[in-house]
């Protein structure tokens, strides 16, 4: 007490940790993590080898295939999903423009990494969302984690990932997934929780098992909401392209990064527009597809 009275500087200044203590605190943690990554980095990296080889294979496939075949395949997919000639024509024009301005290869790289990230987000995110919807406890644990993932600046979680795995495609994919996966998890959870209770009760009353309820009622009825989540996930993955390029992910992000450092306005703008074009294509196609698949849910509700 006497000590506190004598030294009253805590009134004017925050009673913080001394510099020396802070330094040793940081050094201890950093050291521990560095040791961990030296010890296990290679092992962990090798776990990702199958993913890496798939990524490389897919990227090579898109780049080495003649451009008109890729273009034809993309258009075919777009038309199959949307059944809209107008949309297909728009996609054709924007892809031709991208190619004409010399961004074809970078666009293919970005397309491949976004596709892989989206597929992985869906594959990981939907089961987590289902878990969250079925257990309030799981939801109360996962929700704050999702909040952190969405608000923590990407650079912060890039540091440990890069320390562990070095720079390259895999850390990029991990960073993109961390940033982009929350919407699909959240909206899967929401969609399932919003399923009409009477419809679910009906399934139970007629003797549906847990999995019959999940796959026969909950998931199909949550699908519009889940599709909205997937759509958001794709958009957020695209938004990460530039950040990912900082850790060595090739694609449309790298020219943008170069333009920032060298003040190349036009180069930046063109590549930025290419990203926007990709985003719009993904968005419109996934939305029209979802709309078409859920057509019967709208129906005129006469009464």
């Amino acid at each position: 007490m006497a000590l506190l009275m004598a030294n009253s500087s805590w009134l004017t200044e925050f009673p913080d940790m001394s510099r020396r203590e802070l330094l040793s605190f940081r050094q201890t943690l950093d050291g521990a993590y560095r040791d961990f990554s030296r010890e296990y980095g290679d092992t962990i990296e090798s776990l990702f080898d199958p993913l890496l080889s798939f990524l490389i294979w897919f990227e090579d496939l898109l780049i080495s295939t003649p451009w008109w075949i890729v273009l034809g395949a993309v258009l075919g997919l777009v038309y199959y999903a949307s059944r809209s000639l107008k949309l297909s024509a728009g996609v054709l024009v924007s892809l031709l423009a991208i190619g004409y301005f010399g961004m074809w290869e970078d666009t293919m790289r970005t397309l491949s990494i976004i596709t892989v990230c989206t597929l992985m987000s869906i594959a990981i995110g939907i089961p987590i969302g289902i878990l969250m919807a079925q257990s309030d406890r799981a939801r109360s644990i996962i929700t704050p984690l999702l909040d952190i993932m969405q608000t923590m600046p990407a650079f912060v979680y890039l540091i440990p990932v890069v320390m562990l795995l070095g720079i390259g495609k895999i850390p990029g994919v991990i960073a993109v997934i961390i940033y982009a996966i929350p919407p699909v998890i959240r909206l899967t959870n929401l969609g399932i929780r919003l399923v009409d209770t009477e419809t679910l009760e009906a399934a139970t009353a007629y003797g549906a098992t847990r999995s019959q309820r999940l796959f026969g009622v909950q998931l199909p009825l949550a699908m519009p909401t889940i599709m909205a989540g997937i759509n958001q996930t794709i958009m957020m993955a695209l938004a990460m392209v530039v950040v990912a390029s900082m850790i060595g992910v090739k694609g449309l992000g790298q020219p943008v990064l170069k333009s920032i450092t060298n003040q190349y306005f036009t180069l930046g703008l063109l590549n930025g527009l290419a990203i926007v074009a990709l985003a719009i294509i993904f968005d419109r196609v996934s939305q029209t597809y979802a709309k078409r698949a859920q057509k019967h849910l709208e129906g005129s509700n006469h009464g």
């Binding site: 009409d196 009477e198 419809t199 009760e201 009906a202 003797g207 549906a208 009825l221 129906g299």
Partner: protein
């Protein structure tokens, strides 16, 4: 319809439902008679149902009636354990379904009971036909196995041709017909109907009630029907249970409920009932089989009831008309009664009062009540009719 023990299909004993964090701890308090409000104030638990005991007989329509918040929808969800009770037994065919493990409960739900919901509970992503066959398809039957059955039930409820539509393309009444067909398609012995017709507009509702009555005449299912509408309860129910604040207030036949309500709550309910639509002739008629049997004046003189100014005349074919004492006095013994009788129609005991009011107003005589074997079983007196209709 006997009343023997083996005719009881569902028996509920000492059922309690308490909502809250630790319902088991509060149970004793409720059993000791603490009121709903006290329990809520002292423990934060809501008493949903208390001490429910009831028997449902095989083949009857058992209506559970109560206002919103009375616990009726909670109660019906106990029959197939969509909700588990805090305490109590639910016996179906003598078997306590509370004891069933999950797997057997699923089997029980698949085979014993079907349910119809207030807001239909249809699967919006399945076609009408797939909805009707839902119960069978989750049992593992292939579509080509259940399709003929589903189609025929859809036909029975009057929706042939709608197989490939989606529920959202149908009107409310049509959707509930799909709900009914889905329930009937499983061949379950017991039908749970949770305010099944409450969301429909009055005209459609009355049509659906007719259809249910008609179906029941051939199907003889055991139906638990929930409603907040006493008119509906009286129309459909063989017996009615009135639920108030989670307690059973009265269980009885429709006439019991209307004419002998046990307390103010039931009285208030019964007061607003359109009795003309709810009660049948049998409940109001005076039992009396005095009549004139024969077609000649001589026979009439012999059998004319004493102290009466007119009588109902029957021959071996049935009811003929009304003969007044005055007319009889003016006739010769050898005369025929042909052309001397007053033409007043007879009525059946199961007719609704509504249907016989015009008849009663058009004549100064009582109206003969004749059963399906053409026998006189009683008479409807205008004064009694008036008493019942305007208490």
């Amino acid at each position: 319809m006997g009343n023997t023990e083996q005719d009881i299909l569902i028996k509920i004993e000492g059922l309690y439902q308490i909502f809250g964090k630790t319902p088991k701890k509060v149970l004793q308090k409720v059993k000791d008679g603490a009121s709903k409000d006290d329990v809520l104030a002292q423990t934060g638990h809501t008493v949903g149902l208390q001490d429910i005991n009831l028997d449902v007989k095989r083949g009857e329509i058992f209506v559970i009636m109560g206002l919103s918040g009375s616990g009726k929808s909670t109660l019906i969800r106990h029959f197939n354990r969509l909700i588990d009770p805090t305490a109590g037994k639910i016996l179906v065919d003598g078997e306590d379904i509370m004891e069933l493990p999950q797997k057997e409960l699923t089997e029980f739900r698949r085979h014993k009971m079907a349910m119809v919901f207030q807001h239909f509970g249809l699967m919006p992503h399945r076609s009408v036909l797939d909805n009707v066959g839902y119960g069978l398809s989750i049992k593992g039957l292939k579509k080509n196995e259940w399709k003929p059955k589903a189609t025929s039930w859809l036909d029975t409820v009057g929706l042939a041709g709608y197989e490939d539509q989606f529920p959202s393309q149908l009107s409310g009444g049509q959707q509930q017909r799909v709900g009914l067909a889905r329930a009937l398609c499983t061949d379950a012995e017991i039908l749970l109907m949770d305010e099944a017709f409450s969301a429909l507009d009055p005209l459609i509702r009355s049509e659906m009630q007719d259809q249910l009555i008609e179906l029941q005449e051939t199907l003889h299912k055991t139906i638990i029907f929930i409603t907040h509408d006493l008119d509906e309860a009286l129309r459909l129910g063989d017996r009615i249970a009135v639920l108030k604040d989670g307690k059973l207030v009265q269980v009885g036949t429709p006439v019991d409920i209307v004419l002998n309500p046990v307390d103010e709550y039931v009285t208030a309910f019964a007061k607003d009932v359109n009795r003309a639509k709810a009660l049948s002739v049998a409940t109001v008629m005076t039992e009396n089989t005095d009549k004139v049997l024969g077609t000649t004046v001589r026979e009439a003189r012999k059998s004319f009831p004493e102290n009466q100014s007119y009588a109902f005349v029957f021959d071996h074919e049935g009811y003929k008309g009304i003969l007044t004492k005055k007319t009889l006095a003016s006739l010769q013994d050898s005369d025929s009664l042909d052309g001397k009788l007053l033409d007043v129609s007879s009525i059946a005991p199961n007719q609704l009062l509504e249907d016989v009011i015009p008849l009663s107003l058009n004549t100064q005589f009582d109206i003969p009540v004749v059963d399906k074997y053409r026998q006189l079983i009683g008479r409807l007196e205008a004064s009694k009719l008036a008493d019942v209709l305007a208490p």
